[in-house]
Protein backbone atom coordinates (compact mmCIF):
# COMPACT_ATOMS: atom_id res chain seq x y z
CA UNK A 1 0.00 0.00 0.00
CA UNK A 2 2.90 2.33 0.77
CA UNK A 3 4.14 1.88 -2.79
CA UNK A 4 0.77 2.63 -4.29
CA UNK A 5 0.66 5.92 -2.39
CA UNK A 6 4.17 6.73 -3.55
CA UNK A 7 3.25 5.98 -7.15
CA UNK A 8 0.19 8.16 -6.89
CA UNK A 9 2.13 11.08 -5.46
CA UNK A 10 4.97 10.89 -7.96
CA UNK A 11 2.63 10.45 -10.92
CA UNK A 12 0.64 13.48 -9.76
CA UNK A 13 3.80 15.57 -9.86
CA UNK A 14 4.57 14.42 -13.41
CA UNK A 15 1.12 14.57 -14.99
CA UNK A 16 -1.01 16.69 -12.63
CA UNK A 17 -0.96 19.94 -14.64
CA UNK A 18 -1.54 18.14 -17.95
CA UNK A 19 -4.39 16.24 -16.33
CA UNK A 20 -6.08 19.52 -15.44
CA UNK A 21 -5.52 20.75 -19.03
CA UNK A 22 -7.17 17.57 -20.39
CA UNK A 23 -10.18 18.12 -18.18
CA UNK A 24 -10.49 21.85 -18.91
CA UNK A 25 -10.19 21.36 -22.68
CA UNK A 26 -12.57 18.42 -22.34
CA UNK A 27 -15.25 20.54 -20.70
CA UNK A 28 -14.68 23.18 -23.38
CA UNK A 29 -15.45 20.59 -26.11
CA UNK A 30 -18.54 19.61 -24.15
CA UNK A 31 -19.83 23.18 -24.07
CA UNK A 32 -18.68 24.55 -27.43
CA UNK A 33 -20.98 25.27 -30.34
CA UNK A 34 -20.24 22.60 -32.96
CA UNK A 35 -20.98 24.84 -35.97
CA UNK A 36 -18.80 27.69 -34.71
CA UNK A 37 -15.93 25.47 -33.64
CA UNK A 38 -15.78 24.01 -37.16
CA UNK A 39 -15.45 27.49 -38.66
CA UNK A 40 -18.89 27.31 -40.26
CA UNK A 41 -20.30 30.56 -38.85
CA UNK A 42 -20.51 32.14 -42.32
CA UNK A 43 -20.46 29.03 -44.49
CA UNK A 44 -23.18 28.88 -47.12
CA UNK A 45 -24.53 25.77 -48.79
CA UNK A 46 -23.78 25.73 -52.48
CA UNK A 47 -26.38 24.29 -54.80
CA UNK A 48 -25.47 24.06 -58.43
CA UNK A 49 -28.67 24.03 -60.41
CA UNK A 50 -27.31 24.69 -63.85
CA UNK A 51 -28.65 22.52 -66.65
CA UNK A 52 -26.02 20.77 -68.73
CA UNK A 53 -26.06 21.33 -72.45
CA UNK A 54 -25.43 17.67 -73.24
CA UNK A 55 -24.58 18.04 -76.91
CA UNK A 56 -21.99 20.75 -76.22
CA UNK A 57 -19.94 18.50 -73.93
CA UNK A 58 -16.65 17.22 -75.29
CA UNK A 59 -16.48 13.41 -75.07
CA UNK A 60 -14.43 12.17 -72.08
CA UNK A 61 -12.48 9.79 -74.35
CA UNK A 62 -11.20 12.80 -76.37
CA UNK A 63 -10.24 14.65 -73.19
CA UNK A 64 -8.44 11.55 -71.93
CA UNK A 65 -6.48 11.23 -75.18
CA UNK A 66 -5.31 14.83 -74.99
CA UNK A 67 -4.06 14.61 -71.40
CA UNK A 68 -1.76 12.58 -69.21
CA UNK A 69 -3.04 9.06 -68.36
CA UNK A 70 -5.84 9.16 -65.80
CA UNK A 71 -7.35 6.75 -63.30
CA UNK A 72 -10.63 8.69 -63.31
CA UNK A 73 -12.43 11.48 -65.11
CA UNK A 74 -15.36 13.16 -63.43
CA UNK A 75 -17.89 15.72 -64.64
CA UNK A 76 -18.01 18.44 -61.98
CA UNK A 77 -19.31 22.00 -61.62
CA UNK A 78 -17.24 25.03 -60.75
CA UNK A 79 -19.11 28.33 -60.47
CA UNK A 80 -22.04 26.74 -62.27
CA UNK A 81 -20.01 25.67 -65.31
CA UNK A 82 -19.19 22.06 -66.21
CA UNK A 83 -15.60 20.84 -66.02
CA UNK A 84 -13.86 17.52 -66.26
CA UNK A 85 -11.66 16.67 -63.33
CA UNK A 86 -9.00 14.19 -64.38
CA UNK A 87 -7.32 12.26 -61.60
CA UNK A 88 -3.83 11.14 -62.56
CA UNK A 89 -2.84 9.87 -59.16
CA UNK A 90 -5.55 8.99 -56.70
CA UNK A 91 -4.93 9.01 -52.96
CA UNK A 92 -7.12 7.29 -50.38
CA UNK A 93 -8.64 10.59 -49.22
CA UNK A 94 -9.17 14.00 -50.84
CA UNK A 95 -6.86 15.77 -48.36
CA UNK A 96 -3.99 13.38 -49.16
CA UNK A 97 -1.73 14.17 -52.13
CA UNK A 98 -3.78 13.87 -55.32
CA UNK A 99 -2.82 14.84 -58.87
CA UNK A 100 -5.59 16.45 -60.91
CA UNK A 101 -6.09 18.34 -64.14
CA UNK A 102 -9.18 20.49 -64.71
CA UNK A 103 -10.54 20.80 -68.24
CA UNK A 104 -13.42 22.91 -69.53
CA UNK A 105 -16.11 20.41 -70.50
CA UNK A 106 -17.33 22.53 -73.42
CA UNK A 107 -13.98 23.49 -74.97
CA UNK A 108 -11.54 20.82 -73.61
CA UNK A 109 -9.18 23.66 -72.65
CA UNK A 110 -7.15 23.38 -69.47
CA UNK A 111 -8.54 25.33 -66.58
CA UNK A 112 -6.59 26.68 -63.63
CA UNK A 113 -8.00 27.77 -60.30
CA UNK A 114 -6.34 31.17 -60.29
CA UNK A 115 -6.71 33.94 -57.76
CA UNK A 116 -9.87 35.29 -59.35
CA UNK A 117 -11.63 31.93 -59.66
CA UNK A 118 -10.69 31.09 -56.09
CA UNK A 119 -12.16 34.43 -54.96
CA UNK A 120 -15.42 33.74 -56.81
CA UNK A 121 -15.76 30.26 -55.30
CA UNK A 122 -15.04 31.71 -51.86
CA UNK A 123 -17.69 34.40 -52.34
CA UNK A 124 -20.30 31.75 -53.20
CA UNK A 125 -19.40 29.76 -50.11
CA UNK A 126 -19.53 32.81 -47.80
CA UNK A 127 -22.68 34.40 -46.37
CA UNK A 128 -21.22 36.84 -43.84
CA UNK A 129 -21.00 40.64 -43.90
CA UNK A 130 -17.33 40.85 -44.92
CA UNK A 131 -15.53 41.52 -48.18
CA UNK A 132 -12.39 39.88 -49.55
CA UNK A 133 -9.29 41.88 -48.71
CA UNK A 134 -6.45 39.46 -49.33
CA UNK A 135 -5.76 36.21 -51.21
CA UNK A 136 -2.76 34.00 -50.74
CA UNK A 137 -1.59 30.69 -52.21
CA UNK A 138 -0.30 28.36 -49.49
CA UNK A 139 1.81 25.27 -49.70
CA UNK A 140 1.17 22.64 -47.04
CA UNK A 141 1.35 22.68 -44.09
CA UNK A 142 -1.64 24.96 -43.65
CA UNK A 143 -2.05 25.92 -39.97
CA UNK A 144 -5.87 26.04 -40.10
CA UNK A 145 -6.12 22.63 -41.81
CA UNK A 146 -2.94 20.77 -40.89
CA UNK A 147 -4.03 17.53 -42.58
CA UNK A 148 -4.49 19.12 -46.00
CA UNK A 149 -1.56 18.04 -48.21
CA UNK A 150 -2.33 19.89 -51.45
CA UNK A 151 -1.63 23.56 -52.36
CA UNK A 152 -4.45 25.77 -51.17
CA UNK A 153 -5.82 29.27 -51.73
CA UNK A 154 -6.60 31.19 -48.58
CA UNK A 155 -9.17 33.94 -49.14
CA UNK A 156 -9.40 36.46 -46.28
CA UNK A 157 -12.65 38.25 -45.42
CA UNK A 158 -12.68 41.45 -43.36
CA UNK A 159 -15.48 40.47 -40.97
CA UNK A 160 -15.43 40.69 -37.17
CA UNK A 161 -14.31 37.05 -36.73
CA UNK A 162 -11.52 37.05 -39.36
CA UNK A 163 -13.05 34.42 -41.61
CA UNK A 164 -10.82 32.75 -44.17
CA UNK A 165 -12.05 30.41 -46.90
CA UNK A 166 -9.74 27.63 -48.07
CA UNK A 167 -9.95 26.37 -51.67
CA UNK A 168 -7.86 23.50 -52.97
CA UNK A 169 -5.79 24.94 -55.83
CA UNK A 170 -5.67 21.84 -58.04
CA UNK A 171 -9.36 20.90 -57.83
CA UNK A 172 -11.39 23.92 -56.71
CA UNK A 173 -12.72 21.91 -53.77
CA UNK A 174 -13.82 23.96 -50.77
CA UNK A 175 -11.72 22.57 -47.93
CA UNK A 176 -13.51 24.63 -45.32
CA UNK A 177 -13.76 27.92 -43.52
CA UNK A 178 -11.80 29.07 -40.54
CA UNK A 179 -12.44 31.95 -38.17
CA UNK A 180 -11.78 33.19 -34.64
CA UNK A 181 -14.14 30.57 -33.15
CA UNK A 182 -12.41 27.68 -34.92
CA UNK A 183 -8.96 29.00 -34.06
CA UNK A 184 -9.93 29.18 -30.37
CA UNK A 185 -11.27 25.62 -30.47
CA UNK A 186 -8.05 24.55 -32.23
CA UNK A 187 -6.02 25.85 -29.28
CA UNK A 188 -8.03 23.62 -26.95
CA UNK A 189 -7.58 20.67 -29.33
CA UNK A 190 -3.85 21.36 -29.34
CA UNK A 191 -3.81 21.25 -25.53
CA UNK A 192 -5.96 18.12 -25.36
CA UNK A 193 -3.91 16.26 -27.99
CA UNK A 194 -0.59 17.76 -26.79
CA UNK A 195 -0.15 18.54 -30.48
CA UNK A 196 2.33 21.37 -30.07
CA UNK A 197 3.73 20.79 -33.57
CA UNK A 198 0.23 21.39 -35.04
CA UNK A 199 0.18 18.16 -37.04
CA UNK A 200 -3.55 17.64 -36.51
CA UNK A 201 -2.90 14.32 -34.77
CA UNK A 202 -2.92 12.95 -31.24
CA UNK A 203 -0.42 10.17 -32.01
CA UNK A 204 2.69 11.89 -30.68
CA UNK A 205 5.47 10.95 -28.27
CA UNK A 206 4.67 13.48 -25.55
CA UNK A 207 1.04 12.41 -25.53
CA UNK A 208 2.03 8.75 -25.25
CA UNK A 209 4.39 9.50 -22.37
CA UNK A 210 1.79 11.48 -20.44
CA UNK A 211 -0.92 8.92 -21.23
CA UNK A 212 1.19 6.26 -19.50
CA UNK A 213 1.91 8.59 -16.57
CA UNK A 214 -1.81 9.30 -16.29
CA UNK A 215 -2.53 5.58 -16.33
CA UNK A 216 -0.14 5.19 -13.36
CA UNK A 217 -1.85 8.04 -11.56
CA UNK A 218 -5.35 6.74 -12.15
CA UNK A 219 -4.73 3.06 -11.49
CA UNK A 220 -2.81 3.75 -8.28
CA UNK A 221 -5.54 6.16 -7.18
CA UNK A 222 -8.18 3.61 -8.02
CA UNK A 223 -6.43 0.93 -5.97
CA UNK A 224 -6.04 3.40 -3.14
CA UNK A 225 -9.78 4.12 -3.23
CA UNK A 226 -10.61 0.41 -3.15
CA UNK A 227 -8.19 -0.07 -0.30
CA UNK A 228 -9.80 2.76 1.68
CA UNK A 229 -13.20 1.25 1.02
CA UNK A 230 -12.13 -2.21 2.18
CA UNK A 231 -10.63 -0.72 5.32
CA UNK A 232 -13.94 0.99 6.07
CA UNK A 233 -12.56 4.51 5.67
CA UNK A 234 -15.66 5.68 3.82
CA UNK A 235 -17.91 6.42 6.74
CA UNK A 236 -20.20 9.34 7.27
CA UNK A 237 -19.61 10.64 10.77
CA UNK A 238 -22.49 11.94 12.80
Amino acid sequence: MKWIRKFHKWASIVVGIQFLLWLLSGIYFNLMDATKSKGRTYQARINYESPLVGDRLVEPSIVLLKNKPSVAIELIHILGEPFYKLTHEKALYPHFKNKYTLVDAYTAKRFLIDEQVAAEIANLSYNGPGEIFKIRLLDPTIPDFPKQQNPTWEIYFDDEIDTSVFIEANSGRIIGHSDAHKRLADIFFMLHFMDYGNTGSFNNIQNMFFAIAALWLILSGFMWTIHLGLKGKYKIRH
Binding site: G16, G26, I62, K90, G221, F222
Partner: protein, 261 residues
Protein backbone atom coordinates in the same frame (compact mmCIF):
# COMPACT_ATOMS: atom_id res chain seq x y z
CA UNK B 1 6.88 37.72 14.75
CA UNK B 2 7.91 36.04 11.47
CA UNK B 3 7.77 32.66 13.14
CA UNK B 4 4.27 33.42 14.27
CA UNK B 5 3.09 34.27 10.73
CA UNK B 6 4.86 31.26 9.28
CA UNK B 7 3.29 29.02 11.86
CA UNK B 8 -0.13 30.43 11.11
CA UNK B 9 0.44 29.80 7.39
CA UNK B 10 1.59 26.30 8.24
CA UNK B 11 -1.50 25.55 10.29
CA UNK B 12 -3.80 27.00 7.61
CA UNK B 13 -1.95 24.94 5.03
CA UNK B 14 -2.45 21.83 7.06
CA UNK B 15 -6.19 22.47 7.23
CA UNK B 16 -6.39 23.14 3.47
CA UNK B 17 -4.46 19.95 2.80
CA UNK B 18 -6.72 17.98 5.10
CA UNK B 19 -9.94 19.32 3.59
CA UNK B 20 -8.61 18.73 0.05
CA UNK B 21 -7.73 15.16 0.98
CA UNK B 22 -11.17 14.50 2.38
CA UNK B 23 -13.13 15.90 -0.59
CA UNK B 24 -10.73 14.30 -3.08
CA UNK B 25 -11.23 10.95 -1.38
CA UNK B 26 -15.03 11.20 -1.47
CA UNK B 27 -15.19 12.52 -5.06
CA UNK B 28 -13.09 9.66 -6.31
CA UNK B 29 -15.40 7.13 -4.71
CA UNK B 30 -18.07 8.34 -7.13
CA UNK B 31 -16.21 9.39 -10.28
CA UNK B 32 -13.00 7.38 -9.97
CA UNK B 33 -14.32 4.75 -12.35
CA UNK B 34 -14.76 7.37 -15.09
CA UNK B 35 -11.14 8.42 -14.55
CA UNK B 36 -10.13 4.82 -15.21
CA UNK B 37 -12.28 4.77 -18.36
CA UNK B 38 -10.86 8.08 -19.62
CA UNK B 39 -7.33 6.99 -19.00
CA UNK B 40 -7.58 3.53 -20.55
CA UNK B 41 -9.56 4.66 -23.61
CA UNK B 42 -7.35 7.74 -24.06
CA UNK B 43 -4.19 5.66 -23.92
CA UNK B 44 -5.60 3.26 -26.52
CA UNK B 45 -6.47 6.09 -28.90
CA UNK B 46 -3.10 7.79 -28.46
CA UNK B 47 -1.03 4.68 -29.04
CA UNK B 48 -2.69 3.29 -32.17
CA UNK B 49 -1.81 5.31 -35.26
CA UNK B 50 -5.01 6.85 -36.61
CA UNK B 51 -4.25 5.88 -40.23
CA UNK B 52 -3.82 2.27 -39.11
CA UNK B 53 -7.08 2.52 -37.17
CA UNK B 54 -8.81 3.77 -40.33
CA UNK B 55 -7.74 0.58 -42.08
CA UNK B 56 -5.52 2.31 -44.65
CA UNK B 57 -3.17 -0.66 -44.55
CA UNK B 58 -5.97 -3.10 -45.43
CA UNK B 59 -6.58 -1.76 -48.92
CA UNK B 60 -4.57 -1.51 -52.11
CA UNK B 61 -5.00 1.80 -53.88
CA UNK B 62 -4.49 0.65 -57.49
CA UNK B 63 -3.67 3.34 -60.03
CA UNK B 64 -5.24 1.58 -63.02
CA UNK B 65 -5.33 3.97 -65.96
CA UNK B 66 -8.30 4.26 -68.30
CA UNK B 67 -7.52 3.38 -71.89
CA UNK B 68 -9.38 6.06 -73.92
CA UNK B 69 -9.72 3.68 -76.88
CA UNK B 70 -11.78 1.28 -74.79
CA UNK B 71 -14.59 3.78 -74.32
CA UNK B 72 -16.97 2.84 -77.09
CA UNK B 73 -20.06 3.91 -75.22
CA UNK B 74 -20.00 7.70 -75.43
CA UNK B 75 -21.21 10.21 -72.88
CA UNK B 76 -23.77 11.59 -75.35
CA UNK B 77 -25.25 8.10 -75.75
CA UNK B 78 -25.38 7.87 -71.97
CA UNK B 79 -27.27 11.18 -71.76
CA UNK B 80 -29.60 9.88 -74.48
CA UNK B 81 -30.51 6.87 -72.36
CA UNK B 82 -30.28 8.51 -68.92
CA UNK B 83 -31.14 12.20 -69.44
CA UNK B 84 -31.18 12.90 -65.69
CA UNK B 85 -27.79 11.38 -64.94
CA UNK B 86 -25.84 13.33 -62.33
CA UNK B 87 -22.46 13.11 -60.68
CA UNK B 88 -21.03 11.19 -63.64
CA UNK B 89 -17.57 9.72 -63.38
CA UNK B 90 -15.62 7.39 -65.60
CA UNK B 91 -13.00 5.18 -64.00
CA UNK B 92 -12.14 1.51 -63.69
CA UNK B 93 -13.64 -1.41 -61.80
CA UNK B 94 -11.46 -4.52 -61.75
CA UNK B 95 -9.39 -2.92 -64.52
CA UNK B 96 -12.40 -2.47 -66.83
CA UNK B 97 -13.57 1.04 -67.79
CA UNK B 98 -16.92 1.89 -66.18
CA UNK B 99 -19.33 4.80 -65.87
CA UNK B 100 -20.84 5.55 -62.50
CA UNK B 101 -23.66 8.04 -61.97
CA UNK B 102 -26.76 8.86 -60.00
CA UNK B 103 -30.34 9.42 -61.12
CA UNK B 104 -32.73 11.11 -58.73
CA UNK B 105 -36.11 9.44 -58.66
CA UNK B 106 -39.20 10.04 -56.56
CA UNK B 107 -38.18 7.28 -54.20
CA UNK B 108 -34.65 8.67 -53.78
CA UNK B 109 -31.37 8.57 -55.69
CA UNK B 110 -30.49 5.44 -57.69
CA UNK B 111 -26.86 4.61 -58.45
CA UNK B 112 -25.73 3.11 -61.75
CA UNK B 113 -22.69 1.19 -62.94
CA UNK B 114 -22.26 0.73 -66.70
CA UNK B 115 -19.66 -0.98 -68.80
CA UNK B 116 -17.96 1.88 -70.70
CA UNK B 117 -17.38 -0.35 -73.73
CA UNK B 118 -20.91 -1.66 -74.26
CA UNK B 119 -23.10 0.50 -72.04
CA UNK B 120 -24.43 -2.65 -70.34
CA UNK B 121 -25.42 -2.24 -66.69
CA UNK B 122 -23.01 -4.14 -64.42
CA UNK B 123 -25.01 -3.73 -61.23
CA UNK B 124 -26.36 -5.09 -59.01
CA UNK B 125 -22.95 -6.61 -58.35
CA UNK B 126 -23.05 -10.37 -57.86
CA UNK B 127 -21.56 -12.10 -54.84
CA UNK B 128 -18.74 -13.52 -56.99
CA UNK B 129 -17.85 -10.09 -58.38
CA UNK B 130 -17.86 -8.63 -54.86
CA UNK B 131 -15.44 -11.32 -53.68
CA UNK B 132 -13.24 -10.74 -56.71
CA UNK B 133 -13.19 -7.00 -55.95
CA UNK B 134 -12.44 -7.67 -52.29
CA UNK B 135 -9.36 -9.64 -53.27
CA UNK B 136 -8.23 -7.17 -55.91
CA UNK B 137 -8.61 -4.04 -53.75
CA UNK B 138 -7.09 -5.44 -50.57
CA UNK B 139 -4.06 -7.23 -49.18
CA UNK B 140 -6.22 -9.63 -47.22
CA UNK B 141 -6.26 -13.40 -47.27
CA UNK B 142 -9.04 -15.94 -47.15
CA UNK B 143 -12.68 -14.86 -47.29
CA UNK B 144 -14.62 -16.21 -44.33
CA UNK B 145 -18.15 -15.13 -45.14
CA UNK B 146 -20.14 -12.83 -47.40
CA UNK B 147 -23.34 -11.02 -46.44
CA UNK B 148 -25.59 -8.76 -48.49
CA UNK B 149 -26.84 -5.88 -46.34
CA UNK B 150 -29.92 -4.13 -47.66
CA UNK B 151 -31.30 -2.56 -44.48
CA UNK B 152 -30.40 -2.03 -40.81
CA UNK B 153 -26.68 -1.48 -41.42
CA UNK B 154 -24.31 -2.15 -38.53
CA UNK B 155 -22.94 0.84 -36.60
CA UNK B 156 -19.80 0.81 -38.74
CA UNK B 157 -21.55 1.29 -42.09
CA UNK B 158 -23.31 4.46 -43.25
CA UNK B 159 -26.95 3.84 -44.28
CA UNK B 160 -26.22 5.88 -47.43
CA UNK B 161 -23.87 3.12 -48.64
CA UNK B 162 -26.68 0.55 -48.84
CA UNK B 163 -27.20 -1.91 -50.41
CA UNK B 164 -23.72 -3.30 -49.81
CA UNK B 165 -21.81 -6.56 -49.76
CA UNK B 166 -19.95 -7.24 -46.55
CA UNK B 167 -16.91 -9.44 -47.12
CA UNK B 168 -15.48 -10.87 -43.88
CA UNK B 169 -11.92 -12.10 -44.01
CA UNK B 170 -10.22 -14.79 -42.03
CA UNK B 171 -7.25 -12.54 -41.29
CA UNK B 172 -5.54 -10.58 -38.52
CA UNK B 173 -7.99 -8.25 -36.79
CA UNK B 174 -11.11 -9.85 -38.34
CA UNK B 175 -11.26 -7.32 -41.20
CA UNK B 176 -14.41 -6.62 -43.20
CA UNK B 177 -14.67 -4.75 -46.50
CA UNK B 178 -17.92 -3.26 -47.77
CA UNK B 179 -18.65 -2.89 -51.47
CA UNK B 180 -21.65 -1.01 -52.80
CA UNK B 181 -23.95 -3.42 -54.61
CA UNK B 182 -24.98 -0.68 -57.02
CA UNK B 183 -21.60 0.89 -57.89
CA UNK B 184 -19.02 -1.73 -56.91
CA UNK B 185 -17.15 0.96 -54.97
CA UNK B 186 -15.37 0.24 -51.73
CA UNK B 187 -17.65 2.01 -49.24
CA UNK B 188 -16.23 0.83 -45.95
CA UNK B 189 -13.38 -0.97 -44.24
CA UNK B 190 -13.21 -2.04 -40.67
CA UNK B 191 -11.11 -4.23 -38.42
CA UNK B 192 -11.15 -5.07 -34.73
CA UNK B 193 -8.89 -2.13 -33.88
CA UNK B 194 -11.23 0.39 -35.48
CA UNK B 195 -14.31 -1.23 -33.94
CA UNK B 196 -12.57 -1.04 -30.57
CA UNK B 197 -11.61 2.58 -31.27
CA UNK B 198 -15.28 3.45 -31.90
CA UNK B 199 -16.21 1.95 -28.54
CA UNK B 200 -13.30 3.64 -26.80
CA UNK B 201 -14.33 7.01 -28.19
CA UNK B 202 -17.92 6.58 -27.06
CA UNK B 203 -16.81 5.68 -23.56
CA UNK B 204 -14.31 8.54 -23.59
CA UNK B 205 -17.03 11.12 -24.31
CA UNK B 206 -19.58 9.21 -22.18
CA UNK B 207 -22.04 8.89 -25.04
CA UNK B 208 -23.99 5.73 -24.37
CA UNK B 209 -26.68 6.47 -26.96
CA UNK B 210 -25.66 7.03 -30.58
CA UNK B 211 -21.94 7.67 -30.58
CA UNK B 212 -19.94 10.82 -31.05
CA UNK B 213 -22.10 13.32 -29.17
CA UNK B 214 -19.65 15.29 -27.06
CA UNK B 215 -22.23 17.79 -25.85
CA UNK B 216 -24.07 15.56 -23.41
CA UNK B 217 -25.08 16.45 -19.85
CA UNK B 218 -23.62 13.37 -18.21
CA UNK B 219 -20.18 14.26 -19.55
CA UNK B 220 -20.57 17.85 -18.33
CA UNK B 221 -21.56 16.84 -14.80
CA UNK B 222 -18.80 14.26 -14.41
CA UNK B 223 -16.14 16.53 -15.93
CA UNK B 224 -17.20 19.36 -13.61
CA UNK B 225 -16.61 17.24 -10.52
CA UNK B 226 -13.50 15.76 -12.11
CA UNK B 227 -12.02 19.26 -12.42
CA UNK B 228 -12.80 19.88 -8.76
CA UNK B 229 -11.17 16.59 -7.77
CA UNK B 230 -8.16 17.34 -9.95
CA UNK B 231 -7.65 20.83 -8.50
CA UNK B 232 -7.83 19.43 -4.95
CA UNK B 233 -5.35 16.77 -5.93
CA UNK B 234 -3.02 19.42 -7.31
CA UNK B 235 -3.26 21.34 -4.01
CA UNK B 236 -2.02 18.24 -2.20
CA UNK B 237 0.72 17.79 -4.81
CA UNK B 238 1.69 21.39 -4.15
CA UNK B 239 2.08 20.65 -0.45
CA UNK B 240 4.26 17.69 -1.36
CA UNK B 241 6.60 20.00 -3.23
CA UNK B 242 6.60 23.02 -0.91
CA UNK B 243 7.26 21.44 2.46
CA UNK B 244 7.80 23.66 5.46
CA UNK B 245 11.31 23.53 6.88
CA UNK B 246 12.02 20.79 9.40
CA UNK B 247 12.95 23.40 11.93
CA UNK B 248 9.52 24.96 11.75
CA UNK B 249 7.80 21.59 12.07
CA UNK B 250 9.94 20.75 15.08
CA UNK B 251 9.17 24.12 16.60
CA UNK B 252 5.48 23.61 16.07
CA UNK B 253 5.56 20.16 17.64
CA UNK B 254 7.08 21.51 20.82
CA UNK B 255 4.66 24.34 21.19
CA UNK B 256 1.35 23.76 22.82
CA UNK B 257 -1.62 25.87 21.87
CA UNK B 258 -1.94 29.21 23.50
CA UNK B 259 1.73 29.73 24.15
CA UNK B 260 2.37 31.73 21.01
CA UNK B 261 0.24 34.80 20.96
Amino acid sequence: MTIKIKLKQYTNGKILNKVSRKIHKWLMLFIGIQFVIWSVTGTYMVFFDIDYIHGDSLVVNHQDKINPHDIEYSLSTLFGEYPNAENIRLSTFLQQPVYRFKVNTQSGPVQFLLDARSGQPLSPITELKAIEAAHYYSTLGKVKSVVLITDNPPFELSPRALPAWRINFDDFGAPSLYFSQSTGELVGKRHTFWRLFDWMFRFHVMDYEDGGDIGNWLLFAVTFFAILGCVLGLIMTGFLLIRPTKKLVALHKNTSRGVIK
